[in-house]
Symmetry: C2
Subunit: 340 residues, 2 copies
C-alpha cells in the first residue's frame, strides 16, 4: 500500500502542491472553500505529511527528547519517571509532538546523545532531568543552542528555563509536623548525594533542625534502592539513641525501612514514625500505609513540556514554580514513644 503524498492530494483537488500545504497548515493563501475541499480529500485518502520532508523543509521535527541516565533497575522501580513521562506525553500529544526517549548509562553518554540529536536534527528540544551539582550538560546544551527546559531547581539550571518545586519548604513543614507530634530525634535517609535536589533537601533539613534545636538531625546518604534503604535503616535503628522518626527521599526506601522496622520488632508508628517523599500508590499498599509528601507529578511533567514547546516556538520561557509538595498523614506517623 503506497502512502499518499501531497502531490496525490493536489492532483485530486486540482490545485498545486503549494495550495495543499497552505490549506493543511492553516496559512493564508487559499480560499476557505478550497481549504475545506483539500482537507476533505486529505482525510479521505488518509494523508499525513511526511515528518521527514517537513523537518527537512526547515519546519520543526515535531519531536522532543528525554534522556534518562539512571540504572534500569532504579528506573523501573520508581513510579516517578513513568508518571512524569505520562504527563509529558499528555501535553505533547495534544500538540501532536512525539517523544523520543533514550536510556543511557551516564552523563557522558547523555551529552553524546544530545550532540548527535542536535546534529541529526532529530528533536526540536529536550527535557533535562536529575540535575546535579556542577551539571556538565547545562553548558553543552547552551553551547549547542538546543532548546532545553530543566526539570528541577531553583538553582543549577544556568541560563536554561526550568520548572521546579520548593522542596526546602516542603521538607521544613514535614519536620515541623514531626516536631509538633513530639519528635526530637529525626533522621533523614537521602537519595543519591550528587543530585542537586538531594543537596537542597539536605541543607534545608540541617537548617530546620538547627532552627528547632534538633541537634541530632542527621542525613544519611543512600541511592534510592530498597536494598540501600534497608541497610541504612538497620544501621540507624541499631544505634543506642535511635531516631523516633525517619524521613525517606523516596517511596521505595521508605517501604524497605518499614520492613526493617517490622523485622526488628519495632512497631510503626508507636515506636517509630516514617514519612516517605514521592507519594505514590506504593505508599498506600503497605501496612500501615505511609504518611507521604507528594504532588502531582504528571502535571509537573506537563508543565515542563509546555515550557519547552514555548521555547521551541520562539517565546520567552521564564521557568515556572510548580505547586509545593503536601503532606498526607496516614498510619505511619504518630507521637514518639514516651520516655521512661
Amino acid at each position: 500500500m503506497k502512502r499518499p503524498t501531497i502531490a496525490d492530494v493536489a492532483r485530486r483537488a486540482g490545485v498545486s502542491k503549494g495550495a495543499v500545504s497552505y490549506a493543511l497548515n492553516g496559512q493564508p493563501g487559499v480560499s476557505e472553500a478550497t481549504r475545506q475541499r483539500i482537507l476533505a480529500i486529505a482525510a479521505e485518502i488518509g494523508f499525513s505529511p511526511s515528518s521527514a520532508a517537513r523537518a527537512l523543509s526547515g519546519a520543526t521535527a515535531r519531536a522532543i527528547g528525554l534522556i534518562l541516565a539512571r540504572p534500569a533497575r532504579t528506573l523501573g522501580i520508581e513510579p516517578f519517571f513513568m508518571e512524569l513521562i505520562s504527563g509529558v506525553e499528555a501535553e505533547l500529544s495534544a500538540r501532536s509532538y512525539a517523544l523520543t526517549l533514550q536510556v543511557v548509562a551516564d552523563q557522558d553518554a547523555e551529552i553524546e546523545v544530545y550532540r548527535r540529536w542536535w546534529g541529526e536534527r532529530r528533536v526540536d528540544g529536550v527535557l533535562v532531568c536529575d540535575l546535579r551539582t556542577g551539571d556538565r550538560r547545562v553548558p553543552v546544551l547552551e553551547e549547542l543552542g538546543l532548546p532545553a527546559v530543566v526539570i528541577g531547581g531553583p538553582a543549577g539550571a544556568g541560563g536554561l528555563p526550568h520548572v521546579w518545586s520548593d522542596e526546602a519548604a516542603a521538607l521544613a513543614e514535614t519536620v515541623e509536623y514531626l516536631y509538633a507530634l513530639g519528635h526530637r530525634r529525626i533522621a533523614r535517609v537521602a537519595g543519591l548525594p550528587d543530585l542537586l535536589h538531594t543537596a537542597l533537601r539536605s541543607r534545608a533539613f540541617t537548617e530546620v533542625g538547627q532552627r528547632l534545636g534538633l541537634t541530632e538531625a542527621v542525613t544519611v546518604s543512600s541511592d534510592y534502592t530498597g536494598e540501600e534503604g534497608a541497610r541504612v535503616t538497620r544501621r540507624l535503628l541499631s544505634s543506642r539513641l535511635r531516631p523516633t522518626a525517619l524521613i525517606y527521599d523516596n517511596d521505595v526506601m521508605a517501604i524497605a525501612g518499614l520492613s526493617v522496622a517490622q523485622e526488628m520488632g519495632i512497631t510503626v508508628p508507636a515506636d517509630l514514625s516514617i514519612v516517605a517523599w514521592d507519594d505514590s500508590p506504593l505508599c498506600r499498599l503497605v501496612h500501615p500505609p505511609l504518611t507521604a509528601l507528594g504532588r502531582d507529578i504528571p502535571a509537573y511533567g506537563g508543565h515542563a513540556a509546555a515550557q519547552l514547546l514555548q521555547v521551541i516556538e520562539g517565546a520567552e520561557a521564564a521557568g515556572l514554580e510548580d505547586e509545593q509538595a503536601h503532606l498526607t498523614p496516614r498510619g505511619s506517623t504518630g507521637p514518639p514513644p514516651s520516655q521512661h
Copy 2:
C-alpha cells in the same frame, strides 16, 4: 552555531557529497584512504547526518515506536514497562535507532497513532504490547504493512512475528509447587480480564487445578492496581473456607494482598502463602519477602527489539520463544496450616 552538513564535509575533504555519503555509510565507491580522511573530517567538525534528510531519501527513519495504552496510574506503579523499555533501548541504541514513545488512552487512539505514524513515516516499525483477545490492532498493522513485532503470545498475533514466554507452563509449575507443600485450596487474583495473557493464565490455572483435583481453584478478576488487589483479597480471605494460598498476576497486587492479610491478623506464610507474578525489587522490599515468578524483562524487551530490527531490514522473523519464568521461593510461602 550552524550545523555542519554533508556539503561542508565534502568541501573540506575536496570530494563530492556522494563520496562523503558512501564513506559514511560504509558503501563501496571510495578508496580506503579517502574514507578515512572523510571520516576524520566528519568527526572533527562534529557532523551527524540529518535524520530527516536521510529518511526522506528513502533510507529508514531509524526510529521505532512503542505505544502504551494503559492509564498513567497503572503504568507508573508497575516496574514491568520501564524494565521492558530499558531492554528495548539497550538493543536500539547499540544500533543507533531511536525509540518514539506514546502513551494513549485506549486501543482506538493507539490505532489512530499507528496510522498517523505510518503516514508521517515517523517510525520504521512498532512494538505491540498488551495483546487482547480479538485484538483490533493486529489487522490494522497488517493492512498498513507497518513492520511490527508483538510482545506476547503464543496465540493472537495473527501473521505478525511475536516474542513470548510459556506462561501456562510457569503457572502450572507454581501450582504444583504449592500442591507439593500441601495446599489444596488455591486461588488466583488475575489481571485485566481482556488481556490475552490473562486468559491464557486462567485457562492454564483451571487445567492444572483439574489435573491435581483441586476443585476450588478459583480465578478472580482484578485490574493490577493495589486497591483492587486488596479488595479482592479481603473478599477471598473472608470466605468460610478461605484459600491457603494466593497467586497474584502482578507484584503490586501481591503486596496489597500481603497488607490485607496483616490487617486481618492472618500470618504469612503460616496461615496463608502468597506468590507474586512479575518478580521485581518490590517483592524483596516487604516483610516477609514475596515468593515470586519472574524472568528477565529487559532481555525480553531486547529480544523483541532485535526481532523488529530484523523485520525492518527485510529479514524473515519467525518470532521467538523466550525463557520461561522461574519461581524464586522467599518467605511468603510454606506449608498450609494443619487442619484441626
